[in-house]
Amino acid sequence: MPLRILATFLSLSWLLWVVLDYFQKHKLYAEAISSNIYLFPLAIALLIPVGAWVAVRRNPSLARYITGASVLVYTLGIFFWLLLLSRADVLVDYPQLVLSPVSFLLTFFKVLCLVLLVLLSAQAMGAWLLDRWTIALPRWLLGHAGLALGLFLFSVLLFVLGALHVFYWFVLIPLMIIPIILRQRHLRELLSRYLFSPLLPKDGMAWYGYVAFAIAALILCIGLAQSVTIYPKGFDALNFYANIPKLTAEGHGLVHGFRPHAWSLIQSIGYTAFDSPEVAHMLSSVGGFLVPLIVYYIGRKQLGFSPAQTFLAICAFVTIPAYTTQLSHELKIDLPLLYLQLVCLSLLLHHLTRGDDRRVLYLIAILLGFCLTIKITSFLLIFGLLVAMWYREGKTGLPMAMFCFILSAILFLRIDRFSGLDYLIGGRYIYASLLVLIGIVVSLNHALADRHYILRRVKQSILIVVIAGAIYTPWAVKNVIECDSPSFDCVLNGAPHSLRMTIKDLKDNYQSSLGQ
């Protein structure tokens, strides 16, 4: 008992210290509370789910009105709150602003519809290919895999069109409309499932699940609304992530330089097809909306957590400022990328727990390659998934062997330079070879016991790396063509995106100007 009391004391002291230290270093929270004009409507907004839970507890027949509500109903409800949150009473004091929220909301819905058009078109394309492929996946996963695959196909088509410099609205709009027309029945089903079917489960929702859901939904809707702007505020957005789609549209094709930027090509549809920077920006923000959807299914269907636990985890994640900033201010490509990475993880979990299906593995490899073309740092996930693939219940030897192989590859290929930690070891290759040796010894040790398992995993790992590499190849070729002196760095990072200048150029030009 005294130990129990001590444990409670220690855990609470830890909590208290972390909270105190955090707020000492984040003084803006105090300002956020004192300057917030929405505290009351927000509190009311969160009391509604608690009220709904109490009502259902007292009168279970009400459950079908609450848990049976569809995404559409919730979305409308949330936008009702958004309108209310715009604080009409305060706006009255600012005549120049008084009608603005209404015109802003109209623009918001227009942009949202155009973004949905892009996503539906991609989904139609991906679902069509998955149908041909006859991959057996649960319905929810099939929907996400279809969208991810469709976005990949889109990016490939856009790359080809970009290389040909035919990025025009009369090329892109038919490209988007045709899949929708051809797959309208499938899309109707999809829309009715997501917009009109019940969202929340009938059972297993504790009160905190409702509150967590309401907080997450509200913050995502606000983030999405804030992404509608002509001025993306983030430093990287202005210099890169919003800039590349704009330059792509201006030049009607691929731009010189920059790292591989497949998502930026998709974003450039906003400028090229709809002449709307807002659509381009929301195509970044919408990733933040898709992430909780896939996380919900991973938590519920694959990890077996209750809906309330899953909503709690989603709420904890989507409220961190780093996430909400990406959602509406930074407008980078990291949230769509996170969504695609989670689809890959979900497919791998399905592949490893529901029996090996080579076609699912192909799909994972393709999507991982797609992730690489969006941001090269996706190799971190590829490494993680490769190690996990070798994981067998109760045995850590094989994943450790894979870990050694990957670490040696990092040393061989000098990938560590990404982190700015370039090792100066003369014996880099000797150490890397030693790691390979350890990996081989450990895996051979297991291979003697289960040769077939090892061989299958080796083949699968090679397959993933080769396919993902092949998907990356067009971008690698672009990078190499644009670089003066092709190198491994150039394959990964591309040519410099701004003007080039050397001291020699400066000297030569200066000398000639003096001569004149």
Binding site: L10, L380, L434
Partner: protein, 445 residues
């Protein structure tokens, strides 16, 4: 038994096989490594989770992951009592040592833009002039007490292992051993609890991606977003399942989570980064006005960067003129920026120019190569967190050149100064500084 012999051999071989050295290029060190910090060797990795939560290395909402993960880990680990008491004693000791180490290398906040380490010169003077809240008093005095008691210990360890700064023999092997430890512990934990295979696999992915992220991403948060969502999912999912009947600790856990959620909502809706005369509406008023037709693009741009339209008008009126850009985020607003902007954000190239030409020549040298404008981010030096302040030194040299060059004339800036006659106007010098500003645009005559 064989299994463990193999682990042991791997454990012994890993440190031998990956003894590495660190090399540092100044621009990479200035820009990328600020996220992971400048602690010696292994400490920069070990303190990273704490630094990330507290914003000790780089502060800003774009890098803020909240306190939940760190708070939850302590809550979960410390509230569980293993069967062997010395295991528990080890966990508690480990947690306290971790806290002490992180505080030794961490910083405290003096205001929202100023962070100082307690062992930094001038710290006492700085806090003496600061108005301290009760939170400040508790936190700062705890940091000072930790420094008094444990500071020499951490300095000693640091000197023993990382005395030769360019030869780091410890970091990578240490990280490998930690990963091996996590693997073995996770394996034991999972076999004890008979978790579902999907859970085991997700944990394996989380452990590996985290390791490679630690090793390769220099602490850049968004490269590892997947780590954080998986950590939240596994921690919350398994904790709330295991501890549902654990009494009031569980309700504290729930209260902290939902309290954080509500706080996050308040933070998001307060929109405090948008500074204007109006109350902080959810959507920036200038954007609202733009969509209702009450404002134009220039108005929106100026609402984020005062007077920026003056610079943009000039730059976009001469689409053939090249621009030498040092800092600022204006690329998006400059037409054909990929064809005419040279970016020297960390002044690496300028340092080379200075080595090859005299300061009086530089403007003419740039002009001879077709450059007509120099666009300067006045706060670009502020990203410099290096102990050596290399970027600040380079910026000082650069500004020295700009201010002394006769061939440069100021076109536009948002810096405001009060002139001797009392009038406040945009300008770089000649009066008392009212507002430091964000940018300045010069034209080469």
């Amino acid at each position: 038994m064989m299994q463990y012999r193999r682990y042991l051999s791997a454990l012994l071989l890993l440190p031998l096989s990956v003894m590495c050295l660190l090399a540092q290029d100044t621009s990479v060190r200035e820009e990328m490594q600020r996220y992971i910090g400048y602690e010696p060797g292994t400490f920069k990795y070990l303190t990273l989770p704490y630094d990330l939560v507290m914003g000790s290395n780089v502060a800003g909402n774009y890098i803020d992951i909240g306190f939940l993960l760190l708070a939850m880990i302590g809550l979960i680990f410390l509230s569980r009592i293993p069967q062997k008491k010395w295991h528990y004693a080890l966990v508690v000791l480990g947690a306290l040592l971790y806290l002490s180490m992180s505080m030794h290398y961490g910083r405290v906040s003096l205001d929202e833009n100023l962070y100082l380490s307690v062992n930094q010169a001038g710290f006492s003077d700085a806090i003496a002039s600061m108005q301290q809240s009760w939170i400040d008093k508790i936190v700062i005095s705890t940091y000072q007490a930790n420094e008094l008691v444990m500071g020499p210990v951490w300095s000693f360890i640091s000197n023993v292992f990382f005395a030769v700064s360019s030869k780091d023999w410890v970091t990578i092997p240490a990280l490998c051993i930690i990963l091996l430890g996590i693997f073995l512990y996770s394996n034991w934990y999972l076999s004890e609890r008979k978790k579902a295979r999907a859970f085991q696999l997700t944990l394996a992915v989380l452990a590996c991606v985290s390791f490679y992220w630690f090793l390769l991403s220099a602490g850049v948060l968004w490269y590892g977003f997947i780590i954080f969502i998986l950590a939240f999912l596994l921690l919350i999912g398994s904790y709330s399942r295991e501890y549902k009947r654990a009494g009031w600790i569980y309700y504290i856990f729930l209260a902290v989570l939902l309290g954080w959620g509500f706080l996050g909502l308040i933070y998001k809706t307060s929109n405090i980064y948008y500074k204007s005369d109006q109350p902080n509406f959810i959507v920036d008023p200038s954007v609202w006005m733009y969509y209702s037709g009450a404002a134009d693009e220039d108005f929106v741009h100026n609402s984020y960067n005062r007077n920026v339209s003056a610079a943009l008008t000039e730059l976009n009126a001469h689409p053939e003129a090249k621009i030498y850009k040092v800092g600022t985020s204006f690329n998006y607003l400059i037409d054909k920026n990929n064809e005419r902007v040279y970016e020297d954000n960390l002044l690496s190239f300028f340092a080379q120019i200075q080595k090859n030409f005299r300061d009086e020549e530089i403007a003419s040298v740039l002009e001879a190569s077709g450059y007509k404008y120099i666009l300067i981010g006045l706060k670009m030096w502020s990203v410099d967190s290096t102990p050596e302040k290399t970027l600040q030194a380079k910026f000082k040299d650069f500004i020295g050149f700009v201010e002394s060059a006769d061939k440069l004339e100021l076109v536009a800036t948002d810096r405001r100064i009060r002139m001797p006659d009392g009038k406040v106007q945009y300008g770089m010098r000649g009066g008392e500084l009212v507002d430091y500003g964000y940018y300045a645009l010069y034209r080469i005559r």
